[in-house]
Symmetry: C2
Subunit: 426 residues, 2 copies
């Protein structure tokens, strides 16, 4: 018997009826001969409620201005309770379907994490308890998103950390695969809400999925894909909204398999079009063209924990002054501008512009490595629709362009057609 | 510096504003020189929500009819999450008032309990972690109502178990006192909703409080009083609804101290009148008057985990047959009747009557030990109001009578006046 890890997100755990549906999906895999561990998120909306309470409790008053105590560890205590509830409920539901099951909290497994509360990373994972329970015939239900420090304090893995938990559990349990059940039935060539001709991919490589997740596709959390890729753990994304019943045919709910490139027979040059509106463009005008200026700019942003994505430097004709253009996440834009303005004299630029009306469109595909003309097709397709490209950045398997946000949907559809993605057969 | 344990119930933790008020009360005790551990309940209503979910998840279907797996351990996992939330939130709030604080879950302390899930008993309590944290200047916030088994599974102590947790923590921490903050400002001579002349008692003995709690006074959980009495841990019941602020005078919120009888200078003959409507009377008519019949009746009820309270056997004139009358909790009445009827032939009674329209009125006071005529006063007072006594039961410090439920309030008021309780000076 092989071990399998299944993960259900918040919408799949939203109420008792959904939990029963998830339990039937788990039961079907047990009936199919798997030893199963299940990783669950909190009920949809519950984590937001808990976070709001910690926000309310976290407003310093009175003496706290002097003491300034960080409460990240207590944040974790509060927020981790959401998954504890769904883990217990799913275990109860499985038992009541007649399947042996038990919950196992992060501290019971134990899933050791670093001390970085609220965004802890999985440091160590002693899977003996987990594997023993699975091998003794128990379905083990693990609350996603949480762990424990060496000195026994509860940690959480950051929002969306349940995907990462699931992949970590799969690796530790030496599972054949990690099945992520979600509210979509797989990974699509692009967002179906924008392009209704978007097609579900049967398979996608780890590298492509990582780019897609990083570039704005929300189907899987970036860190979970990184972890899966590092350990070559196959991950399947599939729908938890199939209608189970006596005749549930699990095999028809195939989803998308995220796997090694070698396992993908029919490779596409481009597998998907991703977009992100979470972008802002900052331009520093009249920057002195001397060594150390870029370090001064980006060092300050890094110190403030602001991620910079695209960077372009354009020299002025004279050669003494340049304009520096870079993009940051939109929520960081105003803070980045303030930090630059505070150092305006020191860095020595003339003026600063913030443009929050931009979006980033990306094409992703391992086929780019071996095919030429991929970029040309992209630029031509955008040009034909009158879309101006403001910045370009590339990696081995992706090309991203920054454009006026108003053209986002048009650009996605144009690129989807240009690479024939509507003709991919899934 | 002395150690003090403070406990806040669900209404005192109901929202962030109430949690802030509780935090200010804790801060005042720290300022007054105490090392404080706090035990908290879940937000009011939250435990009911969690229990309802487990009820929903706990409905056996399909294969479960064969397997019939108990889910008490998973019930505990789900329900214990409520106190985890409030413990974290109170610790955060204390820090933000400038006071060092941390939460410590039942499994972190650890509060070892027996394996009887959902009504676990506190078996063992290694208080080193707790005392070390308190002595290092931390306010330790412990979620009430929960513990951990030897093999690391979460347990809960049964509804209302937070009072018991608080007393256990106080004993383990060698505290000078356990202060139970609640929505009333102390223990009253009777329920003020029935008798508006009811007076708050400054002090009440453990023994009296235990009887009051057992007899229906809801201010403290019976088991918490048993535990406090066994270890002679003083417990103070007081209001969490005082208005705190810059000039909060904690000393004016004195509540009622539950303590050793010896510490009570001004002893009352009767300290309180309790009542309970959770009563049902079952009468077995025409029972053969032979050895072993009572054992057959009460053995069956005990096997079904039904508590029997009052028992009266009345012989018929012939001497061969008797009527057996007993009381059980009202929610057990129908089940008790079914159990009796199933064994009707075997036990050999003619008929069975269930009367759910009864209530139990009790007077409690250590003064009964040394004073005569206490019972006579009770019976006369009830008789003067035309109230018929159906059953009487007594202990060293209490007298209980079963009466027609319709007379409950009248009886309480008559007895309150008969013993001069409206003149007790608090």
């Amino acid at each position: 018997m092989t071990r399998l890890v299944m993960k259900f997100g918040g919408t799949s755990m939203a109420d008792l009826e959904r939990i029963r549906r998830a339990a039937r999906l788990v039961a079907a895999e047990v009936d199919a001969g798997h030893k199963v561990a299940v990783v669950v998120s909190a009920m949809a909306g519950k984590t937001n409620e808990l976070v709001a309470w910690t926000d309310g409790a976290g407003q310093p008053t009175g003496k706290a201005a002097e003491v300034h105590a960080s409460s990240d560890d207590e944040y974790d205590v509060v927020v981790a309770s959401g998954e504890q509830v769904t883990a217990g409920l799913l275990a109860m539901t499985l038992r009541n379907l007649g399947y042996p099951a038990r919950s196992m909290m992060g501290w019971q497994v134990p899933i050791k994490t670093s001390m970085l509360h609220a965004k802890a990373r999985i440091a160590d994972f002693d899977a003996d308890n987990l594997i023993n329970a699975m091998d003794s015939g128990q379905i083990v239900v693990v609350p996603g998103f949480q762990g424990v420090t060496d000195d026994g304090r509860i940690t959480t893995l950051g929002r969306g950390g349940s995907d990462t938990s699931a992949v970590a559990v799969a690796i530790a349990a030496k599972a054949i695969r990690c099945d992520i059940y979600t509210d979509v039935d797989g990974v699509y060539t692009t967002d179906p809400r924008i392009e209704n001709k978007a097609k579900r991919l049967d398979k996608i490589s780890f590298e492509e999925m990582l780019e897609m997740a990083s570039l704005g596709a929300k189907v899987l959390q970036t860190r979970s894909v990184e972890l899966a890729m590092a350990y070559r753990m196959p991950v399947r994304v599939l729908s938890s909204f199939v209608e189970p019943g006596e005749n549930l045919d699990v095999s028809s709910n195939v989803g998308t398999l995220v796997c090694d490139e070698e396992e993908i027979v029919e490779k596409h040059i481009v597998s998907g079009v991703a977009y992100s509106r979470d972008e802002a463009k900052i331009t520093l005008l009249g920057l002195p063209n001397r060594i150390g200026v870029s370090a001064a700019v980006f060092g300050r942003l890094a110190a403030a924990n602001i991620n910079v994505d695209m960077i372009v430097q354009s020299e002025k004709r004279s050669g003494d002054y340049a304009n520096q253009l870079f993009t940051v996440g939109r929520r960081d834009a105003q803070r980045a501008a303030e930090i630059m303005n505070e150092a305006k004299a020191e860095i020595g630029f003339d003026d600063l512009k913030v443009d929050e009306g931009v979006s980033k469109i990306s094409i992703v595909g391992v086929g780019m490595r071996s095919h030429t003309g991929v970029a040309e097709t992209m630029f031509r397709a955008l040009s034909e629709k009158g879309i101006n490209i403001q910045v370009i950045s590339t990696s081995e398997i992706k090309i991203s362009v920054l454009i006026d946000e108003a053209y986002t949907e048009l650009a996605v559809r144009a690129l989807h057609a240009a690479y024939g993605l509507d003709k991919i057969g899934a």
